[in-house]
């Protein structure tokens, strides 16, 4: 990766913006994270030319692993064309000159804010998460010294206190995002802020997963094919959200759906939150129950128009 630095180190930026020394520091943190799956490695997070909350942790991780031959995909809420995804993709197009794509299968590095692609990832892909709050114990124990000790001692009873409260107040485990998991039978980790629908995907995933929290200065990782278990009770086992209808546009079932308002008369439909997945299915001739609806086609057309680069 070092030669890339010379090639691109011609203007005001080093390749992928960060200087090589910073990248080495971040790569060391990443390697440590891979060696201790689920463990939060502190790192000297740098100022990035974007505000915290815009995924500066993920951006620094991506910048540190990106090579000139990589192909980058950016996901926000499942879609590639929201402001956050567009601006981070633009950032890397400008500072690294790498190829970018909307297609999951074409990407070698995928940075995401919320969703994991519906399509299974491969060993030659890396998934980078932008994490706002890396500490799963924070909710009940605000003291950092104490949470560190709890991780060191594998003292995780508090996580179940949180789940207990959930059931007591809602009748079921109501946590739907940032649902805590235990990685490799050791560290409890927050896959924040993905929906719990995606938790099964991070178990035994062939791709490397890297998590970066910029403001909190933490990096953690899940190596390929690692056991990741969602916490639960024996009598309230972990379950993912179920959608009772298929995607309105492509008819996909067992995928994560977003509700879309079609008009001001209460017209609505449910569509794949993974827009690439949906488009690919439609291109392959799959049609959902709303596919012929004019408002829906307008929505779908509008969405795909924006994807034309």
């Amino acid at each position: 990766m070092n030669d890339t630095a010379q090639i691109f180190d011609q203007g005001e930026y080093n390749f992928a913006y960060l200087d090589e020394q910073t990248k080495r520091m971040i790569r060391r943190a990443i390697l440590k994270g891979i060696a201790i799956p689920g463990y939060q490695v502190p790192f000297a997070s740098r100022e990035m030319p974007m505000p915290y909350g815009w995924g500066t942790g993920g951006v620094q991780v991506t910048a540190s692993i990106l090579g000139k031959d990589d192909c980058l995909k950016m996901i926000d809420q499942g879609s590639d064309d929201t402001t956050n995804a567009v601006s981070i993709r633009g950032f890397f197009e400008k500072t690294a000159g790498v190829r970018t794509t909307y297609e999951t299968s074409e990407a070698t590095v995928i940075q995401t804010r919320h969703r994991i692609p519906e399509k299974g990832l491969r060993e030659d892909q890396v998934l980078v998460f932008q994490v706002p709050i890396p500490e799963p114990l924070r909710f009940l124990e605000p003291r950092e010294t104490e949470t560190r000790k709890m991780h060191a001692l594998e003292d995780y009873g508090l996580m179940h206190v949180k789940l207990y409260e959930d059931i007591a107040k809602n009748g079921h485990i109501a946590t739907t995002y940032a649902y805590p998991v235990k990685v490799n039978d050791r560290y409890v980790m927050d896959p924040s802020p993905t929906p719990k629908f995606d938790n099964p995907k991070i178990d035994q995933m062939p791709a490397l997963q890297l998590y970066g929290a910029g403001r909190e200065k933490r990096i953690y990782a899940i190596p390929p094919y690692t056991k990741v278990k969602s916490l639960d009770f024996d009598d309230y086992p972990f379950e993912v959200q179920k959608f009772d209808k298929p995607c309105g546009l492509c008819g996909a079932e067992n995928v994560y759906l977003d509700e879309v308002i079609l008009d001001d008369q209460g017209g609505r439909m449910y569509v794949c939150s993974d827009s690439d997945h949906c488009e690919e299915r439609r291109a392959n001739g799959h049609l959902g129950p709303m596919a012929a609806d004019p408002a829906a086609t307008h929505f779908a057309g509008g969405a795909s128009e924006e994807t034309v680069q």
């Binding site: 009873g157 508090l158 179940h160 207990y164 409260e165 007591a168 009770f233 009598d235 309230y236």
Partner: protein, 262 residues
């Protein structure tokens, strides 16, 4: 083993001293605590009661001295040589600690049920239904109505909070409970009810207790033995009735007479 003592001591305290800089917290304290025994530590404000209690309960490392505890497997262990993991396990299974201020001993932002169930979850209980019914049972034992199980302790009165704190500690059936002024700051009638409850639970469960109080009436009601502290030293110790009815030390006589005048 001594034939006159069918059991061995639960806790052995050897010359425990704690300084705060140059200031004495407690000085050269030694005693044994026996299974099922309730020991009261009394003395005026600043005499070193809390310092000693915190040393005993591994919350404050002594400057000198040693404290040994008989683990559930019968082995005598030096408390300050336990690993952090062993110490934590001990504190949340075999021990309890009841704070004067219930908020220090409770999680104020989770329900009463979760407060009681926390220890169970910490030691690996993973069945929600069982945790909840055990919590419900313990709330009943401390006279908190079942329908308050999902309320958080912020909505509880001072007396209820204290009873909840006690249930939270007793749910794992500890053998030793430390208490620092458990009835302090409560109304007299609320105090009486709490004392009554404590006395019953201690007897039912055969608990060993070290209780700090400056209230001799509390010591009289709950404890078998008493230690009187002054300026960090234990100046008199013995069976509670003996010490309170027939104090030897002039200072203890003063303490006893002042309570009688109240």
């Amino acid at each position: 083993m001594n034939v006159f003592q069918p059991e061995a001591p639960l806790l052995q305290v050897h010359n425990v001293t704690r300084y705060y800089g140059d200031r004495i917290g407690c000085l050269d304290v030694s005693f044994d605590l026996w299974p099922g025994e309730v020991l009261a530590i009394v003395g005026e404000s600043g005499s070193g009661k809390t310092t000693l209690l915190n040393c005993l309960s591994t919350r404050l490392a002594p400057t000198a001295g040693a404290i040994e505890y008989r683990m559930r497997d019968g082995a005598m262990r030096n408390l300050y040589q336990l690993t952090e993991a062993e110490r934590r396990l001990l504190m949340r299974t075999d021990w309890g600690f009841v704070h004067q201020n219930a908020a220090d001993g409770l999680r104020m932002n989770v329900s009463a049920g979760a407060n009681v169930g926390e220890r169970l979850m910490a030691v690996g209980d993973r069945h929600y239904g069982n945790i909840r019914s055990t919590a419900d049972d313990w709330l009943g034992r401390v006279e908190i109505e079942s329908d308050r199980i999902d309320d958080d302790p912020r909505s509880f009165s001072g007396g209820m909070r204290q009873r909840l704190q006690i249930a939270r500690n007793l749910v794992t059936r500890p053998r030793l409970v430390f208490m620092d002024e458990p009835t302090g700051g409560l109304d007299v009638s609320v105090q009486a009810r709490l004392l009554d409850l404590l006395r019953r639970l201690v007897a039912d469960l055969g608990l060993s207790v070290v209780i700090v109080t400056h209230d001799l009436a509390v010591a009289r009601l709950l404890s078998h033995r008493i230690m009187v502290m002054r300026h960090g030293n234990v100046i008199e110790a013995g069976l509670t009735d003996q010490v309170l009815d027939d104090p030897r030390e002039p200072y203890t006589q003063l303490l006893v007479s002042s309570i009688l005048q109240v």
